[in-house]
Symmetry: C2
């Protein structure tokens, strides 16, 4: 009888879709799949649908794979309590995810938020392999962050540490979804750069192809393509976004002195348009003792599998350290 | 023969004076003393003078005390390398402190900066006993900070993490000793509040007893006494200082989610004048998930012995964890 491959199940619960897959210690993903989350329906139905599929996959692969644990990434996921609390874009209120998962598949199970999962995925499978001190920034619709100190994600005393997207960078700045003003994610994110474009369109008289698009239409990808074509407003928007991000990251270095800051998520597809100003303003604003010590690098997680790899890394981490 | 009391030697190297003392696991200090640092003279002479005294003390107490290790706190002290690098207010350039100490007294020796030592002292002997996640802020001439995550000081990848005093809180703000502008310590420190008073004196026409003092004369204590007597400029200066500090600490919570922020150092003698606005603006600026979860409390380290206790806690910590 052949030896079975040990894998963990990584689950990424998103507002629209939930992805899952089995992942071995080397980062190979087996039987990846996804279902609509349908957060308007009761959460019990969601787990029922998800695990019907998962169990079927496991059964079909039972001769080759042995699942040894489950990692879950979800918005507002709390590592200590195993719960999702008031999740944004999910209508479920508070859910004990770990308990629900174990009803369906009784294996060691850990939960964290999606940004922390991305950091763990990066450390095990991506650009942060071998690093002990780094910050993972996810530039998506908002700005998520995972802070790693001494090889471990910082959860803080209540499990909610690492919300760099909600550091206030501008007193009385832009209104944020959190109800406060001037949070970093209102500037440095896919939504943030769109807001910047609209401010710049209003503020200047420069010609721009972006003047033909509505706020609802415009995406970060449009801004990137305009920037590539030389559009002055789009280029200025990237410069400004990188400046706000670089300045904020310079402050984060004063807290944590990481060896690298890894940028991940949709906005990083713009490459140098976002990396160049971010690096420049980070470096310009660093305390001298940190200058030249912090790299700003792109994620090496594959676009499609990053969230599943992150969730799987979370539980691999626990199993390998003997915590689960 | 009686059993000897195990103690560590705590040394705090300051710009003007260097304090030392032997400290047991309960925080009792034995044979505390201090010498002028005289940083204009060669560093070898400094250690010669210091250890002549220390060895004499140890000899005299040899029937009751057994010294098992040495902890040193010093400006810019690097935990990983055991060196002081470009220390502010010390003319010594780079010094390998651990090496020098062990030439005089060959015991397990650890170095860190004074602010990290204060955090370790607080955790072992003071207000942070039993805490795993907290931030220690020292409001002295500048603003020092020690960040504790999971019971350990965060040193970052190069040993220089935890410089919250050099977080930029005001773009193009006040010129800082570090050469940049708008650092937190140019507002929230004994020097910072003095600068605020002078700005306010220039900005308003309010009567104030502080109008009779020169910049060189004025101390944080004068401002505190004026505030107690109802002086409007002094009161406004404390309100402003607490606002800048509270806002900055709200951001630090988004990174670290500590259970407490402990304020230590000269400026905290002003009590409610500094604690009340700091707490108020911290709370007002917190992301909702953190509201009501973070206490801002005064240090419980004794004024005279805090630095020695911190340095001693540093080495106790290493010895007890088996790292030394």
């Amino acid at each position: 009888m052949a030896v079975k491959k040990k894998v963990t199940l990584g689950i990424d619960i998103g507002g629209t879709n939930t992805a899952y897959g089995f992942v071995d210690q080397e980062g190979t993903i087996y039987h990846q799949g996804s279902i609509p989350t349908r957060a308007d329906q009761p959460v019990e139905q969601f787990f029922e649908r998800l695990f019907t599929l998962v169990r079927r996959q496991l059964q079909q692969a039972s001769s080759e794979l042995e699942c040894v644990g489950i990692g879950v990434g979800a918005p507002n996921g709390n590592y200590y309590r195993g719960t999702i609390e008031n999740p944004p874009n999910l209508g479920w209120q508070d859910v004990n995810v770990v308990e629900m998962v174990r009803k369906h598949l009784d294996l060691p199970t850990v939960l964290t938020n999606d940004a922390n999962a991305a950091a763990l995925g990066e450390m095990k499978f991506g650009a942060a392999r071998g690093m002990k001190h780094f910050i993972e920034i996810t530039l998506g619709t908002g700005l998520g962050s995972g802070v790693v100190v001494d090889g471990k994600v910082v959860y803080g005393h209540d499990g909610f540490a690492g919300e760099i997207g909600h550091v206030i960078v501008e007193r009385n700045g832009r209104l944020c979804g959190c109800g406060r003003r001037g949070c970093l994610e209102t500037y440095a994110s896919a939504t943030g750069i769109k807001r910047t474009v609209f401010e710049l369109l209003g503020n200047s008289n420069k010609p721009s192809r972006l003047r033909n698009m509505t706020y609802e239409q415009l995406t970060a990808k449009d801004i990137y393509q305009a920037a590539k074509a030389g559009d002055p407003i789009a280029r200025e928007a990237f410069e400004f976004t990188g400046r706000v991000l670089g300045e904020a990251l310079a402050n984060s270095v004063a807290y944590l002195s990481p060896e690298a800051i890894i940028l991940f998520g949709g906005l990083t597809a713009a490459g140098d348009f976002i990396f160049r100003p971010t690096r420049k303003y980070l470096e310009e604003n660093l305390l001298s003792v940190y200058r030249g010590t912090v790299r700003v690098i792109p994620s090496l997680l594959p676009e499609g599998g990053a969230a599943v790899l992150g969730a799987a890394a979370l539980i691999w981490n626990e199993l390998n350290s003997g915590r689960k």
